[in-house]
Protein backbone atom coordinates (compact mmCIF):
# COMPACT_ATOMS: atom_id res chain seq x y z
CA UNK A 1 0.00 0.00 0.00
CA UNK A 2 2.81 2.36 0.95
CA UNK A 3 4.42 1.68 -2.39
CA UNK A 4 1.35 2.83 -4.30
CA UNK A 5 1.00 5.80 -1.98
CA UNK A 6 4.54 6.98 -2.76
CA UNK A 7 4.04 6.44 -6.44
CA UNK A 8 0.83 8.46 -6.39
CA UNK A 9 2.47 11.32 -4.53
CA UNK A 10 5.40 11.37 -6.95
CA UNK A 11 3.12 11.29 -9.98
CA UNK A 12 0.75 13.98 -8.69
CA UNK A 13 3.75 16.15 -7.80
CA UNK A 14 5.18 15.77 -11.30
CA UNK A 15 1.77 16.27 -12.85
CA UNK A 16 1.15 19.66 -11.27
CA UNK A 17 4.75 20.85 -11.51
CA UNK A 18 5.82 19.63 -14.92
CA UNK A 19 3.34 17.73 -17.04
CA UNK A 20 0.39 20.10 -16.68
CA UNK A 21 2.26 23.37 -17.47
CA UNK A 22 4.13 21.87 -20.44
CA UNK A 23 1.00 20.20 -21.78
CA UNK A 24 -0.90 23.48 -21.46
CA UNK A 25 1.79 25.32 -23.43
CA UNK A 26 1.32 22.74 -26.15
CA UNK A 27 -2.47 23.07 -25.90
CA UNK A 28 -2.47 26.87 -25.99
CA UNK A 29 0.06 27.00 -28.82
CA UNK A 30 -2.03 24.83 -31.09
CA UNK A 31 -5.46 26.14 -29.95
CA UNK A 32 -6.03 27.73 -33.38
CA UNK A 33 -4.28 25.06 -35.42
CA UNK A 34 -0.75 24.91 -36.83
CA UNK A 35 -1.03 27.91 -39.22
CA UNK A 36 -0.75 30.73 -36.64
CA UNK A 37 2.14 28.89 -34.96
CA UNK A 38 4.15 28.84 -38.17
CA UNK A 39 3.27 32.47 -38.82
CA UNK A 40 4.36 33.49 -35.31
CA UNK A 41 7.66 31.65 -35.56
CA UNK A 42 8.59 33.02 -38.99
CA UNK A 43 8.28 36.72 -38.26
CA UNK A 44 11.62 38.53 -38.75
CA UNK A 45 11.91 39.15 -35.00
CA UNK A 46 11.33 35.50 -34.14
CA UNK A 47 13.79 34.29 -36.76
CA UNK A 48 16.35 36.78 -35.53
CA UNK A 49 15.87 35.57 -31.96
CA UNK A 50 16.44 31.98 -33.12
CA UNK A 51 19.62 33.06 -34.86
CA UNK A 52 20.99 34.97 -31.85
CA UNK A 53 20.20 32.07 -29.52
CA UNK A 54 21.93 29.61 -31.83
CA UNK A 55 25.02 31.86 -32.14
CA UNK A 56 25.33 32.39 -28.39
CA UNK A 57 24.73 28.71 -27.60
CA UNK A 58 27.17 27.33 -30.16
CA UNK A 59 30.02 29.71 -29.29
CA UNK A 60 29.41 29.13 -25.57
CA UNK A 61 29.43 25.34 -25.90
CA UNK A 62 32.69 25.44 -27.90
CA UNK A 63 34.38 27.73 -25.37
CA UNK A 64 33.04 25.69 -22.47
CA UNK A 65 34.28 22.45 -23.98
CA UNK A 66 37.81 23.78 -24.48
CA UNK A 67 38.09 25.43 -21.09
CA UNK A 68 36.11 22.72 -19.32
CA UNK A 69 38.42 19.91 -20.48
CA UNK A 70 41.47 22.08 -19.83
CA UNK A 71 40.33 22.92 -16.32
CA UNK A 72 39.39 19.30 -15.55
CA UNK A 73 42.84 18.07 -16.68
CA UNK A 74 44.48 20.80 -14.61
CA UNK A 75 42.45 19.89 -11.52
CA UNK A 76 42.91 16.12 -11.77
CA UNK A 77 46.40 15.72 -13.23
CA UNK A 78 48.37 18.56 -11.70
CA UNK A 79 49.33 19.64 -8.21
CA UNK A 80 49.76 23.38 -7.90
CA UNK A 81 49.20 26.04 -5.27
CA UNK A 82 45.63 27.31 -5.49
CA UNK A 83 44.22 24.05 -6.84
CA UNK A 84 41.59 23.83 -4.09
CA UNK A 85 40.61 27.44 -4.65
CA UNK A 86 40.21 26.85 -8.38
CA UNK A 87 38.18 23.73 -7.65
CA UNK A 88 35.87 25.82 -5.47
CA UNK A 89 35.63 28.71 -7.96
CA UNK A 90 34.43 26.32 -10.68
CA UNK A 91 31.25 25.73 -8.68
CA UNK A 92 30.66 29.44 -8.05
CA UNK A 93 28.25 29.93 -11.00
CA UNK A 94 25.86 27.43 -9.43
CA UNK A 95 25.73 29.40 -6.21
CA UNK A 96 25.59 32.89 -7.70
CA UNK A 97 22.33 34.15 -9.20
CA UNK A 98 22.59 34.78 -12.98
CA UNK A 99 21.35 38.34 -12.45
CA UNK A 100 24.34 39.01 -10.21
CA UNK A 101 26.60 37.54 -12.92
CA UNK A 102 25.11 39.96 -15.46
CA UNK A 103 25.56 42.97 -13.20
CA UNK A 104 29.13 41.93 -12.38
CA UNK A 105 29.96 41.70 -16.07
CA UNK A 106 28.56 45.19 -16.63
CA UNK A 107 30.77 46.46 -13.79
CA UNK A 108 33.85 45.12 -15.57
CA UNK A 109 33.03 45.49 -19.26
CA UNK A 110 30.47 48.32 -19.22
CA UNK A 111 31.28 51.40 -21.32
CA UNK A 112 32.01 53.46 -18.20
CA UNK A 113 34.23 50.88 -16.53
CA UNK A 114 38.02 51.17 -17.14
CA UNK A 115 38.29 47.82 -18.91
CA UNK A 116 35.08 48.22 -20.94
CA UNK A 117 36.03 51.79 -21.84
CA UNK A 118 39.46 50.70 -23.02
CA UNK A 119 37.89 48.03 -25.24
CA UNK A 120 35.17 50.42 -26.47
CA UNK A 121 37.86 52.90 -27.57
CA UNK A 122 39.16 50.15 -29.82
CA UNK A 123 35.72 49.49 -31.26
CA UNK A 124 34.99 46.37 -29.23
CA UNK A 125 31.62 46.40 -27.50
CA UNK A 126 31.09 43.70 -24.93
CA UNK A 127 27.96 44.79 -23.08
CA UNK A 128 24.70 45.09 -25.04
CA UNK A 129 26.14 42.92 -27.81
CA UNK A 130 26.99 39.31 -28.63
CA UNK A 131 30.36 39.01 -26.81
CA UNK A 132 28.77 40.01 -23.51
CA UNK A 133 25.96 37.52 -23.97
CA UNK A 134 28.44 34.77 -24.78
CA UNK A 135 30.53 35.74 -21.75
CA UNK A 136 27.46 35.60 -19.47
CA UNK A 137 26.39 32.22 -20.88
CA UNK A 138 29.90 30.75 -20.61
CA UNK A 139 30.07 31.88 -17.01
CA UNK A 140 26.73 30.31 -16.14
CA UNK A 141 27.63 26.98 -17.86
CA UNK A 142 31.20 26.90 -16.48
CA UNK A 143 30.84 23.93 -14.07
CA UNK A 144 28.87 21.66 -16.39
CA UNK A 145 31.70 20.27 -18.58
CA UNK A 146 34.27 20.34 -15.77
CA UNK A 147 32.05 18.40 -13.36
CA UNK A 148 31.06 15.85 -16.01
CA UNK A 149 34.66 15.14 -17.04
CA UNK A 150 36.51 15.31 -13.68
CA UNK A 151 35.26 12.02 -12.14
CA UNK A 152 35.98 10.05 -15.32
CA UNK A 153 39.48 11.52 -15.58
CA UNK A 154 40.06 10.51 -11.97
CA UNK A 155 38.74 7.02 -12.58
CA UNK A 156 40.83 6.22 -15.68
CA UNK A 157 43.99 7.23 -13.82
CA UNK A 158 47.33 8.04 -15.41
CA UNK A 159 48.64 4.61 -16.37
CA UNK A 160 47.15 4.55 -19.86
CA UNK A 161 48.71 7.94 -20.57
CA UNK A 162 52.06 6.78 -19.17
CA UNK A 163 51.89 3.64 -21.28
CA UNK A 164 51.33 5.86 -24.33
CA UNK A 165 54.37 7.98 -23.39
CA UNK A 166 56.65 4.97 -23.11
CA UNK A 167 55.41 3.90 -26.56
CA UNK A 168 56.65 7.22 -27.93
CA UNK A 169 53.49 9.35 -27.85
CA UNK A 170 54.05 13.03 -27.07
CA UNK A 171 51.76 14.41 -24.30
CA UNK A 172 49.39 15.93 -26.88
CA UNK A 173 49.29 12.68 -28.90
CA UNK A 174 48.63 10.70 -25.72
CA UNK A 175 45.82 13.08 -24.81
CA UNK A 176 44.18 12.95 -28.24
CA UNK A 177 44.55 9.22 -28.85
CA UNK A 178 44.17 7.80 -25.33
CA UNK A 179 42.65 10.28 -22.85
CA UNK A 180 40.09 11.94 -25.10
CA UNK A 181 38.49 8.67 -26.30
CA UNK A 182 38.30 7.52 -22.68
CA UNK A 183 36.38 10.62 -21.57
CA UNK A 184 34.34 11.10 -24.73
CA UNK A 185 30.93 10.07 -23.33
CA UNK A 186 31.34 12.13 -20.20
CA UNK A 187 32.44 15.05 -22.36
CA UNK A 188 29.45 14.63 -24.68
CA UNK A 189 27.18 14.56 -21.64
CA UNK A 190 28.71 17.78 -20.30
CA UNK A 191 28.41 19.42 -23.73
CA UNK A 192 24.73 18.51 -24.05
CA UNK A 193 24.04 19.86 -20.56
CA UNK A 194 25.89 23.05 -21.51
CA UNK A 195 23.87 23.34 -24.70
CA UNK A 196 20.58 22.95 -22.84
CA UNK A 197 21.64 25.52 -20.26
CA UNK A 198 22.85 27.98 -22.94
CA UNK A 199 19.57 27.75 -24.87
CA UNK A 200 17.48 28.39 -21.79
CA UNK A 201 19.59 31.03 -20.02
CA UNK A 202 17.56 34.12 -19.16
CA UNK A 203 18.76 36.13 -16.15
CA UNK A 204 22.41 36.90 -16.97
CA UNK A 205 21.69 37.37 -20.66
CA UNK A 206 18.74 39.64 -19.90
CA UNK A 207 21.01 41.97 -17.93
CA UNK A 208 24.00 42.16 -20.32
CA UNK A 209 22.08 42.10 -23.60
CA UNK A 210 20.05 45.23 -22.98
CA UNK A 211 17.14 43.36 -24.62
CA UNK A 212 17.43 45.25 -27.88
CA UNK A 213 14.76 43.85 -30.17
CA UNK A 214 16.08 42.39 -33.44
CA UNK A 215 19.63 42.87 -32.20
CA UNK A 216 20.40 41.17 -28.89
CA UNK A 217 17.13 39.37 -28.30
CA UNK A 218 17.50 35.66 -27.64
CA UNK A 219 14.59 33.26 -27.70
CA UNK A 220 13.97 33.45 -23.96
CA UNK A 221 13.98 37.25 -24.10
CA UNK A 222 11.70 37.09 -27.14
CA UNK A 223 9.17 34.97 -25.24
CA UNK A 224 9.15 37.37 -22.33
CA UNK A 225 8.89 40.48 -24.54
CA UNK A 226 6.03 39.04 -26.63
CA UNK A 227 4.20 38.01 -23.46
CA UNK A 228 4.50 41.51 -21.98
CA UNK A 229 3.12 42.94 -25.23
CA UNK A 230 0.02 40.70 -25.15
CA UNK A 231 1.18 38.75 -28.23
CA UNK A 232 0.38 35.45 -26.56
CA UNK A 233 0.39 33.42 -29.75
CA UNK A 234 4.05 34.30 -30.49
CA UNK A 235 5.05 33.87 -26.84
CA UNK A 236 3.53 30.42 -26.59
CA UNK A 237 4.78 29.33 -30.00
CA UNK A 238 8.36 30.31 -29.11
CA UNK A 239 8.02 28.71 -25.68
CA UNK A 240 6.79 25.55 -27.36
CA UNK A 241 9.77 25.57 -29.76
CA UNK A 242 12.12 25.86 -26.78
CA UNK A 243 10.36 23.05 -24.98
CA UNK A 244 10.81 20.83 -28.05
CA UNK A 245 14.53 21.60 -28.17
CA UNK A 246 14.79 20.90 -24.42
CA UNK A 247 13.06 17.54 -24.77
CA UNK A 248 15.35 16.68 -27.68
CA UNK A 249 18.44 17.47 -25.61
CA UNK A 250 17.03 15.43 -22.72
CA UNK A 251 16.55 12.48 -25.06
CA UNK A 252 20.12 12.95 -26.24
CA UNK A 253 21.32 12.86 -22.62
CA UNK A 254 19.33 9.70 -21.95
CA UNK A 255 20.88 8.12 -25.01
CA UNK A 256 24.38 9.11 -23.89
CA UNK A 257 23.97 8.16 -20.22
CA UNK A 258 23.78 4.34 -20.41
CA UNK A 259 26.73 4.20 -22.75
CA UNK A 260 28.73 6.10 -20.21
CA UNK A 261 27.71 3.67 -17.47
CA UNK A 262 28.91 0.72 -19.55
CA UNK A 263 32.46 1.86 -19.33
Amino acid sequence: MARYGLRTIALVYLLFLLVLPVALIFWTTFADGIGPVIDALTTPSALHAFKVTAQVAIISVILNTLFGVGTAVLLVRHEFPGRRTLNMLVDLPIAVSPVVVGLALILVYGRFAPMGGWLADRGIDIIFSLPGMVLATVFVCLPLVVRAVTPVLEEIGTEQEQAAWTLGAKPWQAFRRVTLPAIRWALAYGMVLSLARSLGEYGAVAVVSGRIKDQTQTLTLFVEERFQNFDQQAAYAAAFAMAVVAVATLLLITLLRPREDDR
Binding site: E159, Q160, Q162, A163, A164, W165, T166, L167, G168, A169, K170, Q173, R177, V178, P181, A182, R263
Partner: protein, 319 residues
Protein backbone atom coordinates in the same frame (compact mmCIF):
# COMPACT_ATOMS: atom_id res chain seq x y z
CA UNK B 1 73.66 -2.58 -19.57
CA UNK B 2 71.55 -0.33 -17.38
CA UNK B 3 73.77 1.52 -14.94
CA UNK B 4 72.12 3.17 -11.97
CA UNK B 5 74.53 5.43 -10.09
CA UNK B 6 73.86 7.05 -6.71
CA UNK B 7 70.15 7.54 -7.32
CA UNK B 8 68.05 9.05 -4.53
CA UNK B 9 64.35 9.84 -4.57
CA UNK B 10 62.13 11.31 -1.86
CA UNK B 11 58.36 11.60 -1.84
CA UNK B 12 57.81 14.35 0.69
CA UNK B 13 59.55 13.14 3.84
CA UNK B 14 59.56 9.50 2.70
CA UNK B 15 62.87 8.33 1.24
CA UNK B 16 61.91 5.86 -1.50
CA UNK B 17 65.50 5.40 -2.74
CA UNK B 18 68.70 6.18 -0.80
CA UNK B 19 71.83 6.49 -2.89
CA UNK B 20 71.14 3.37 -4.98
CA UNK B 21 73.81 2.09 -7.37
CA UNK B 22 73.35 -1.09 -9.35
CA UNK B 23 74.32 -2.51 -12.77
CA UNK B 24 71.75 -4.52 -14.69
CA UNK B 25 73.35 -6.78 -17.32
CA UNK B 26 72.29 -6.68 -20.99
CA UNK B 27 70.25 -9.52 -22.39
CA UNK B 28 69.43 -10.96 -18.98
CA UNK B 29 66.18 -11.28 -17.09
CA UNK B 30 66.66 -9.40 -13.83
CA UNK B 31 64.26 -9.30 -10.90
CA UNK B 32 63.95 -6.40 -8.48
CA UNK B 33 62.80 -8.25 -5.39
CA UNK B 34 61.76 -6.89 -2.05
CA UNK B 35 58.94 -6.12 0.35
CA UNK B 36 56.42 -3.45 -0.66
CA UNK B 37 57.61 0.07 0.02
CA UNK B 38 61.19 -1.05 -0.54
CA UNK B 39 61.74 1.24 -3.52
CA UNK B 40 61.79 -1.33 -6.33
CA UNK B 41 58.85 0.11 -8.28
CA UNK B 42 60.23 3.62 -7.89
CA UNK B 43 63.57 2.48 -9.30
CA UNK B 44 61.82 0.84 -12.27
CA UNK B 45 59.79 3.98 -12.96
CA UNK B 46 62.94 6.10 -12.77
CA UNK B 47 64.63 3.83 -15.32
CA UNK B 48 61.57 4.30 -17.57
CA UNK B 49 61.59 8.07 -17.11
CA UNK B 50 58.15 8.08 -15.49
CA UNK B 51 59.72 9.54 -12.33
CA UNK B 52 62.72 11.85 -12.07
CA UNK B 53 65.38 11.09 -9.48
CA UNK B 54 66.30 13.81 -6.98
CA UNK B 55 69.94 12.99 -7.63
CA UNK B 56 72.00 10.38 -9.42
CA UNK B 57 72.47 9.14 -12.99
CA UNK B 58 70.70 6.55 -15.16
CA UNK B 59 72.63 5.18 -18.13
CA UNK B 60 70.91 2.90 -20.62
CA UNK B 61 73.34 1.09 -22.90
CA UNK B 62 76.05 3.68 -22.41
CA UNK B 63 73.80 6.73 -22.92
CA UNK B 64 73.10 9.08 -20.05
CA UNK B 65 69.30 8.96 -19.97
CA UNK B 66 68.75 10.81 -16.69
CA UNK B 67 67.09 13.81 -18.32
CA UNK B 68 65.54 12.02 -21.30
CA UNK B 69 61.73 11.99 -21.55
CA UNK B 70 60.02 8.56 -21.44
CA UNK B 71 59.16 8.98 -25.15
CA UNK B 72 62.85 9.05 -26.10
CA UNK B 73 64.22 6.31 -23.85
CA UNK B 74 63.04 3.48 -26.05
CA UNK B 75 61.90 1.33 -23.16
CA UNK B 76 58.88 -0.94 -23.04
CA UNK B 77 56.84 -0.71 -19.86
CA UNK B 78 54.25 -3.20 -18.61
CA UNK B 79 51.98 -2.13 -15.73
CA UNK B 80 50.54 -4.33 -12.99
CA UNK B 81 46.99 -3.41 -14.01
CA UNK B 82 47.70 -3.74 -17.74
CA UNK B 83 46.98 -0.06 -18.67
CA UNK B 84 45.19 -1.40 -21.75
CA UNK B 85 43.78 1.21 -24.14
CA UNK B 86 40.15 0.23 -23.57
CA UNK B 87 38.69 1.88 -26.66
CA UNK B 88 41.12 0.11 -29.02
CA UNK B 89 41.09 -3.50 -30.15
CA UNK B 90 43.93 -5.84 -29.28
CA UNK B 91 45.38 -5.10 -32.72
CA UNK B 92 45.06 -1.34 -32.13
CA UNK B 93 46.76 -1.60 -28.76
CA UNK B 94 49.76 -3.47 -30.13
CA UNK B 95 49.93 -1.21 -33.21
CA UNK B 96 49.89 2.00 -31.13
CA UNK B 97 53.63 2.55 -30.83
CA UNK B 98 54.20 1.78 -34.50
CA UNK B 99 51.42 4.16 -35.58
CA UNK B 100 52.94 6.91 -33.46
CA UNK B 101 56.21 6.24 -35.31
CA UNK B 102 54.30 6.54 -38.61
CA UNK B 103 55.42 3.17 -39.98
CA UNK B 104 53.83 2.04 -43.24
CA UNK B 105 50.47 0.26 -42.84
CA UNK B 106 51.64 -3.03 -44.32
CA UNK B 107 54.67 -3.14 -42.04
CA UNK B 108 52.50 -2.43 -38.98
CA UNK B 109 50.10 -5.20 -39.92
CA UNK B 110 52.86 -7.74 -40.40
CA UNK B 111 54.67 -6.79 -37.21
CA UNK B 112 51.52 -6.79 -35.06
CA UNK B 113 50.43 -10.18 -36.37
CA UNK B 114 53.88 -11.57 -35.67
CA UNK B 115 53.73 -10.27 -32.09
CA UNK B 116 50.19 -11.54 -31.51
CA UNK B 117 51.41 -14.95 -32.58
CA UNK B 118 54.31 -14.67 -30.16
CA UNK B 119 51.93 -14.01 -27.25
CA UNK B 120 49.30 -16.49 -28.53
CA UNK B 121 46.59 -13.90 -29.10
CA UNK B 122 46.34 -14.14 -32.90
CA UNK B 123 42.67 -15.12 -32.82
CA UNK B 124 41.81 -12.23 -30.46
CA UNK B 125 43.10 -9.39 -32.68
CA UNK B 126 39.66 -7.83 -33.12
CA UNK B 127 38.50 -8.12 -29.53
CA UNK B 128 38.49 -5.29 -27.03
CA UNK B 129 40.47 -5.53 -23.77
CA UNK B 130 37.21 -5.81 -21.79
CA UNK B 131 36.57 -9.11 -23.61
CA UNK B 132 39.88 -10.65 -22.49
CA UNK B 133 40.91 -12.40 -19.28
CA UNK B 134 43.53 -10.85 -17.03
CA UNK B 135 46.28 -13.11 -18.33
CA UNK B 136 45.38 -12.34 -21.95
CA UNK B 137 45.36 -8.61 -21.24
CA UNK B 138 48.81 -8.80 -19.72
CA UNK B 139 50.12 -10.74 -22.73
CA UNK B 140 48.63 -8.05 -24.95
CA UNK B 141 50.37 -5.37 -22.87
CA UNK B 142 53.63 -7.28 -23.30
CA UNK B 143 53.18 -7.48 -27.09
CA UNK B 144 52.38 -3.76 -27.14
CA UNK B 145 55.60 -2.97 -25.27
CA UNK B 146 57.67 -5.27 -27.50
CA UNK B 147 56.21 -3.80 -30.73
CA UNK B 148 58.49 -0.77 -30.69
CA UNK B 149 61.57 -3.00 -30.29
CA UNK B 150 62.64 -1.46 -27.01
CA UNK B 151 66.23 -1.61 -25.79
CA UNK B 152 64.91 -2.50 -22.36
CA UNK B 153 61.68 -4.16 -21.22
CA UNK B 154 60.44 -3.09 -17.79
CA UNK B 155 57.65 -4.95 -16.00
CA UNK B 156 56.10 -3.59 -12.80
CA UNK B 157 54.63 -6.50 -10.80
CA UNK B 158 53.38 -7.94 -14.10
CA UNK B 159 51.55 -10.89 -12.56
CA UNK B 160 50.46 -9.17 -9.35
CA UNK B 161 46.80 -8.79 -10.38
CA UNK B 162 46.37 -12.36 -11.61
CA UNK B 163 45.18 -15.41 -9.73
CA UNK B 164 47.65 -18.05 -8.58
CA UNK B 165 47.14 -20.54 -11.42
CA UNK B 166 47.48 -18.00 -14.27
CA UNK B 167 50.38 -16.43 -12.43
CA UNK B 168 52.36 -19.67 -12.48
CA UNK B 169 51.63 -20.27 -16.16
CA UNK B 170 52.62 -16.74 -17.21
CA UNK B 171 55.78 -16.96 -15.11
CA UNK B 172 57.22 -19.88 -17.03
CA UNK B 173 55.84 -18.43 -20.25
CA UNK B 174 57.74 -15.16 -19.60
CA UNK B 175 60.92 -17.19 -19.05
CA UNK B 176 60.45 -19.02 -22.37
CA UNK B 177 59.58 -15.77 -24.14
CA UNK B 178 62.75 -14.15 -22.87
CA UNK B 179 64.80 -17.10 -24.08
CA UNK B 180 63.30 -16.39 -27.52
CA UNK B 181 63.47 -12.59 -27.60
CA UNK B 182 66.61 -11.88 -25.48
CA UNK B 183 65.67 -8.27 -24.75
CA UNK B 184 67.17 -6.89 -21.53
CA UNK B 185 64.32 -7.31 -19.08
CA UNK B 186 63.78 -6.01 -15.56
CA UNK B 187 60.76 -7.03 -13.56
CA UNK B 188 59.57 -6.01 -10.15
CA UNK B 189 58.13 -8.57 -7.76
CA UNK B 190 57.62 -9.09 -4.05
CA UNK B 191 57.29 -12.85 -4.54
CA UNK B 192 60.66 -14.56 -3.89
CA UNK B 193 59.47 -17.79 -5.53
CA UNK B 194 58.64 -15.88 -8.72
CA UNK B 195 62.05 -14.18 -8.71
CA UNK B 196 63.91 -17.45 -8.04
CA UNK B 197 62.05 -19.29 -10.78
CA UNK B 198 62.21 -16.69 -13.54
CA UNK B 199 65.24 -14.45 -13.07
CA UNK B 200 68.88 -14.85 -14.14
CA UNK B 201 69.84 -12.22 -11.63
CA UNK B 202 68.11 -10.87 -8.56
CA UNK B 203 68.49 -7.44 -6.99
CA UNK B 204 67.11 -7.55 -3.45
CA UNK B 205 65.84 -4.16 -2.31
CA UNK B 206 64.49 -3.02 1.03
CA UNK B 207 64.22 0.30 2.83
CA UNK B 208 65.18 2.16 -0.35
CA UNK B 209 68.55 0.41 -0.56
CA UNK B 210 70.03 -2.48 -2.52
CA UNK B 211 70.60 -5.34 -0.05
CA UNK B 212 72.32 -7.79 -2.38
CA UNK B 213 72.77 -8.60 -6.07
CA UNK B 214 73.36 -12.08 -7.41
CA UNK B 215 72.04 -15.17 -9.15
CA UNK B 216 69.18 -17.04 -7.45
CA UNK B 217 71.66 -19.72 -6.27
CA UNK B 218 74.08 -17.11 -4.95
CA UNK B 219 71.43 -15.42 -2.90
CA UNK B 220 70.04 -18.65 -1.51
CA UNK B 221 73.39 -20.21 -0.71
CA UNK B 222 75.31 -17.09 0.24
CA UNK B 223 72.96 -14.42 1.56
CA UNK B 224 74.80 -11.28 2.60
CA UNK B 225 72.56 -10.57 5.54
CA UNK B 226 69.96 -12.00 7.84
CA UNK B 227 67.34 -9.99 5.96
CA UNK B 228 68.22 -11.49 2.57
CA UNK B 229 68.35 -14.95 4.09
CA UNK B 230 64.90 -14.66 5.64
CA UNK B 231 63.40 -13.02 2.56
CA UNK B 232 64.63 -15.67 0.14
CA UNK B 233 63.45 -18.77 1.90
CA UNK B 234 62.35 -20.34 5.16
CA UNK B 235 64.62 -20.00 8.21
CA UNK B 236 64.67 -21.37 11.70
CA UNK B 237 66.67 -20.75 14.87
CA UNK B 238 68.84 -23.32 16.58
CA UNK B 239 70.39 -22.04 19.80
CA UNK B 240 71.01 -18.48 18.65
CA UNK B 241 71.86 -19.40 15.06
CA UNK B 242 69.67 -18.56 12.04
CA UNK B 243 69.75 -21.46 9.55
CA UNK B 244 67.70 -23.00 6.76
CA UNK B 245 65.38 -25.59 8.37
CA UNK B 246 66.91 -28.36 6.24
CA UNK B 247 70.44 -27.50 7.39
CA UNK B 248 69.91 -28.89 10.88
CA UNK B 249 71.15 -32.23 12.13
CA UNK B 250 68.78 -33.99 14.54
CA UNK B 251 70.41 -36.52 16.90
CA UNK B 252 69.04 -38.79 19.62
CA UNK B 253 72.13 -38.45 21.85
CA UNK B 254 73.80 -35.21 22.96
CA UNK B 255 77.14 -34.36 21.32
CA UNK B 256 79.49 -31.38 21.66
CA UNK B 257 77.76 -28.25 20.36
CA UNK B 258 74.26 -29.63 20.29
CA UNK B 259 71.16 -27.95 21.69
CA UNK B 260 68.53 -29.97 23.53
CA UNK B 261 64.94 -29.71 22.28
CA UNK B 262 61.60 -31.32 23.09
CA UNK B 263 59.48 -32.63 20.20
CA UNK B 264 56.03 -31.05 20.16
CA UNK B 265 54.59 -32.38 16.94
CA UNK B 266 55.66 -34.41 13.90
CA UNK B 267 54.06 -33.17 10.68
CA UNK B 268 54.37 -35.33 7.56
CA UNK B 269 54.27 -33.26 4.35
CA UNK B 270 54.83 -35.92 1.69
CA UNK B 271 58.55 -36.25 1.13
CA UNK B 272 59.53 -33.90 3.89
CA UNK B 273 58.73 -34.04 7.57
CA UNK B 274 58.48 -31.01 9.80
CA UNK B 275 59.39 -31.31 13.46
CA UNK B 276 57.84 -28.67 15.71
CA UNK B 277 60.15 -28.36 18.71
CA UNK B 278 60.75 -26.27 21.76
CA UNK B 279 64.15 -25.21 23.05
CA UNK B 280 63.92 -23.84 26.61
CA UNK B 281 60.19 -23.26 26.00
CA UNK B 282 60.97 -21.25 22.84
CA UNK B 283 59.18 -22.74 19.79
CA UNK B 284 61.29 -23.63 16.74
CA UNK B 285 61.14 -26.08 13.85
CA UNK B 286 63.33 -28.12 11.52
CA UNK B 287 62.78 -29.94 8.28
CA UNK B 288 64.06 -33.46 7.66
CA UNK B 289 63.47 -36.12 5.02
CA UNK B 290 61.07 -39.02 5.46
CA UNK B 291 63.95 -41.49 5.78
CA UNK B 292 65.62 -39.42 8.48
CA UNK B 293 62.31 -39.21 10.33
CA UNK B 294 61.91 -43.00 10.16
CA UNK B 295 65.41 -43.58 11.59
CA UNK B 296 64.84 -41.01 14.28
CA UNK B 297 61.36 -42.31 15.19
CA UNK B 298 60.84 -39.28 17.39
CA UNK B 299 57.46 -38.81 19.02
CA UNK B 300 55.91 -35.87 20.83
CA UNK B 301 57.51 -35.46 24.26
CA UNK B 302 60.85 -37.04 23.19
CA UNK B 303 64.13 -35.20 23.75
CA UNK B 304 66.29 -34.63 20.66
CA UNK B 305 69.59 -32.80 20.10
CA UNK B 306 70.05 -30.23 17.32
CA UNK B 307 73.17 -29.04 15.55
CA UNK B 308 73.38 -26.53 12.70
CA UNK B 309 75.16 -28.13 9.72
CA UNK B 310 78.42 -26.35 9.11
CA UNK B 311 78.07 -26.68 5.32
CA UNK B 312 74.93 -24.57 5.29
CA UNK B 313 74.46 -20.82 5.70
CA UNK B 314 74.03 -19.52 9.19
CA UNK B 315 73.96 -16.24 11.04
CA UNK B 316 74.76 -15.79 14.69
CA UNK B 317 71.80 -13.97 16.16
CA UNK B 318 72.31 -11.63 19.06
CA UNK B 319 69.96 -12.77 21.83
Amino acid sequence: MIRVSNVSKNFGSFAALRDVSVDIPSGALTALLGPSGGGKSTLLRIIAGLETPDSGIIEIQGHDSTNLSPQRRNVGFVFQHYAAFKHMTVFGNVAFGLEIRKRPKAEIKARVNELLELVHLEQFAHRYPAQLSGGQRQRMALARALAVEPKVLLLDEPFGALDAQVRKELRSWLRRLHDEVHVTTVFVTHDQEEAMEVADEIVVMAGGEVQQVGSPDDLYERPASEFVMSFLGPTTRVGGTLVRPHDVEVLMAPEPGTVTAVVQRVVRLGFEVRLDLSVDDEPTWVQITRDQARQLAARPGDRVHLRALTAGVAFEVAV
